[in-house]
Amino acid sequence: MQPANLIPLIVVLVVIAFALGYARSRALAVPMGGIKHLKSLPFYYAARAAMWCGLPALLVLACWLGFEGKVIQTLVVGSLPAELQPDSAGKASLILSQISNVASGALSADVVPPAIAEAASRLTGLQQSSQTMMALLVICIAVLGGFVAWLRIAPHINAREKFETTLRRIFFACAGLAILTTVGIVFSVIFETIRFFGKVPITEFLFGTSWSPQTAIRADQVGAEGAFGMIPLFVGTLLISAIAMVVAVPVGLMSAIYLSEYASPRMRGIIKPLLEMLAGVPTVVYGFFAALTVAPFISGLAAALGLQASAESALAAGLVMGIMIIPFVSSLSDDVINAVPQSLRDGSLALGATQSETMKKVIFPAALPGIMGGILLAVSRAIGETMIVVMAAGLAANLTANPLEAVTTVTVQIVTLLVGDQEFDSAKTLAAFALGMLLFVVTLALNVIALHVVRKYREQYD
């Protein structure tokens, strides 16, 4: 039986377990004078039976599916004649692939050695019996689990508490996934980063002012010797982020203020979703907009003004990134401004302040910590933004503060170093992981600070 059919079957069994559990607990309650004399509602006894029926069965199913392949592979490959025995893992996977392609008909049985064709039919047989066994086992476990749980239904058992405890543990596990993700991120960059620092001293990475990772990817390819100072990347990242913030903060903040303080509900209802649409546009789209529309426009404009602007000017990427971040800033500011208690607004208005005076002198200062926190979050988003800069920013690591020049960013370098060459041993590709680590650490720091600021601010009013 296919797993795809097994799952509905388990569901059916679970439903049956539930129904039987329900019936049994109700039946137990009758002689006692109604379900109120049970420790828990029939529903909970039933849910427990269902849980015992479903969860172990699913667990076994998952394990079976996880190990089935390996076991069958060993069995099939092991039974091949000696001359076909693979001498390496790669060969083994090839042979197995060949066998399964023959079994599935993708390869004609005529073109392969007869031993392979035999193995293919053995594979089919094994797979079939494995699936039969799996189905039997899973069904047995489901029935057994359900039956035991059903037997153990007794009026004095607090099924609700047990059910709720299990559920709460599941909830906790879900929350814990966040930690696993972080661990996964650290895990996926830390080893390469350490190896990178084995090749390039950490001080050079952190304080070097020149970035040109053109180390040879092959021994006989000669490039530049390779310089791995991340300062120019970082400065480039900051330059673009700064331009983005210069666009996004005033525009976002003022829109938020206007929408929350002045606009009619109707206008707000129209404009807010429109602004949010800016946040919904995929970054690839922004990237092409930046590279193909804004950048030429800016270099044209600069030329008209007698300035020299690069085609990948930081300005173009920064402007477009700023546009992307506007809704982010505005919705965060909106939240924060709305969190300032109405009483402060009333207090100021009652003294005869105009709306803008109230805004500028009372609400804004009060909301400032929260807004700062929001802006920090926006900065971390700007720093981590990838597609816009991949398409619109340059690759040359210039250490400059001139927005008309091309700069490169950390994310651009990660993509360039990783897409196209995924060998994990040259300093050059390892550098991508060191940069990833750097990015993670920087955004982590920004976020922690931002969260701290925002939380402090929230405490002030909650």
């Binding site: 208690p341 009483s343 402060l344 207090g347 003294l351 005869g352 009372v362 200062p365 002030q460």
Partner: protein, 297 residues
């Protein structure tokens, strides 16, 4: 309102009142009926600061104030009392147009301050509010220093030309609010660090710093403990020499302690206005009496 009279009494023995069909609520005996727009007592004054006639306030469809006419005299302290939801705050907030910020709120009728229409479209609310200050139920100091809180009003209105003038205004206001001695050494401390009572007095100081002519107070003591309440009441008594004060309170005792006249509101109607001692000793209207004697509320 017959239910009130029949089913409830101050004696706790009479707890087994018969259950009344809801229909019975409808037939009101004449004595407790309120005639729309009619107020017993002395609602009018000669030297009126505020002259309010047939004021009606609507929140969307529902009417919160039902044809209230009232004069408020210069330098008097008038207290608005009445059960919860009867429209005291709503009426009070009409007087400096704080209701403007509520979109669905509409005000009808004639409201005049010193003979000028309050709701004249050409009228400037900023100037109006500088003249008619307001103190709120919950102390709401700005999250700034004590000094800046008091200086805020004078600053925005440009009342001081020099730093020293501003200092004088701040000191003067804090003195009047009876707060100067407590805070003179920590004017730069954040106002949010003060106790509730001090905060409320600071809000009063902040209000009088712009030298208003009228001060509206909406349950200014309801968030305060007894000691702080006493201080604020004391302050009101003092301020009444120079300002017209309109105070909403849910505490009849407080009304009795601080006000010259008391106005009793009931479900949006102004039922009775009279000298405070008259209201508390010999109310004219049956509803007022029921309220005063604790039949409800």
């Amino acid at each position: 309102m017959s239910t009130l009279n029949t089913s409830i009494s101050t004696e706790q023995t009479q707890r087994e009142a018969p259950e009344l069909a809801p229909a019975a609520v409808q037939d009101k005996p004449e004595e407790t009926a309120i005639e729309y727009g009619q107020t017993v007592g002395t609602p009018f004054a000669d030297d009126a600061k505020f002259r309010l006639r047939d004021v009606e306030v609507y929140y969307g469809e529902s009417q919160a104030i039902k044809g209230v006419s009232l004069d408020i005299a210069r330098n008097e302290v008038i207290a608005f009392i009445g059960p919860s939801g009867c429209g005291k705050s709503t009426f009070l907030r009409c007087l400096n147009r704080m209701n403007d910020s509520i979109d669905i709120c509409r005000v009808k009728g004639s409201l005049e301050l010193d003979g000028q229409d309050l709701y004249d479209p050409r009228r400037d609310v900023v100037e109006l509010r500088a003249r008619v200050g307001m103190v709120f139920q919950k102390p709401n100091p700005f999250p700034k220093s004590i000094y800046d809180n008091v200086a805020y009003g004078p600053r925005i209105h440009g009342l001081a030309n020099r730093k020293s003038e501003l200092d004088d205004i701040v000191e003067d206001s804090l003195r009047k609010a009876g707060l100067w001695n407590e805070v003179k050494d920590r004017l730069d401390a954040p106002a949010t660090g003060m106790s509730g009572g001090q905060q409320q007095r600071l809000c009063i100081a902040r209000t009088i710093a712009v030298s208003p002519e009228v001060v509206l107070m909406d349950e200014p003591c309801s968030a305060l403990d007894p000691i702080a309440t006493a201080k604020v009441e004391e302050l009101i008594a003092e301020l009444s020499e120079s300002y017209t004060i309109i105070i909403v309170t849910h505490s009849m005792q407080q009304a009795a302690r601080v006000s010259h006249r008391t106005a009793y509101f009931h479900l949006g109607n102004l039922v009775e206005v009279n000298a405070t001692d008259k209201v508390f000793t010999a109310p004219e209207h049956k509803l007022t009496e029921s309220y005063i004697t604790g039949r409800f509320g």
